[in-house]
Point group: C2
Chain length 120, copies 2
């Protein structure tokens, strides 16, 4: 079973974290056969952590986990912190395929998405 773990920064504001949970639900509604399980996790300031999010996917039966950084810029969080958190679990489960997808800021369609939003 393929799982997608949406990873956001995490906030002290519960509403911001709730937005991520709601987004994960919306992704789940759209996922079809690509991913049978969609979960979310936070790098810091909120729960579940990235290792806990990966653990949850595995407990639910995932045989592979794609970690998607819901981040706009290629900062330290994307380059170092998220890979470090993921590596902890990969070491613990060497037989499970855990990969990190490109971060949101790399999406080719962003200009068109922004232009559509600007005239909304």
């Amino acid at each position: 079973m393929k799982a997608l773990l949406l990873v956001a920064h995490g906030s002290r504001r519960a509403e911001s974290n709730d937005e991520i949970a709601a987004l994960a639900d919306r992704v789940s509604d759209r996922a079809g056969e690509q991913f049978e399980l969609i979960e979310h996790a936070f790098l810091e300031l909120a729960e579940p952590s990235i290792p806990d999010g990966i653990e949850l996917c595995l407990k639910k039966g995932a045989t592979s986990v794609t970690v998607l950084p819901y981040f706009l810029a290629r900062g330290t969080h994307v380059v170092e912190d998220i890979p470090a958190e993921v590596a902890k679990k990969q070491q613990e489960y060497p037989d499970i395929a855990i990969r990190i997808a490109p971060y949101l800021g790399t999406v080719d369609e962003l200009p068109d998405v922004l232009l559509a939003l600007a005239v909304k």
Copy 2:
């Protein structure tokens, strides 16, 4: 002349700020007739500021400015800080239409964008 001002948070890392400038250029390439001028600005930690970004648009001949928050969550920056910065310039130029577009995190297509990214 309609201007679009892409507003990001701003970072201490020059590379992150450069990503925003590059994104504004890509938006400009795609803009067509909707917006004749695309600029970018930062809420904090980098230049130009939001008021300076709006001023730049007006100096280049803009008669209206759409401010688009390049933010993922509806936090204090989106709810209070960006409107406060925009309001300063609106007071200075009461005859110019300055509006704030919905922030990036509200885009309906985000789930599909994320799923496409996850299998990339």
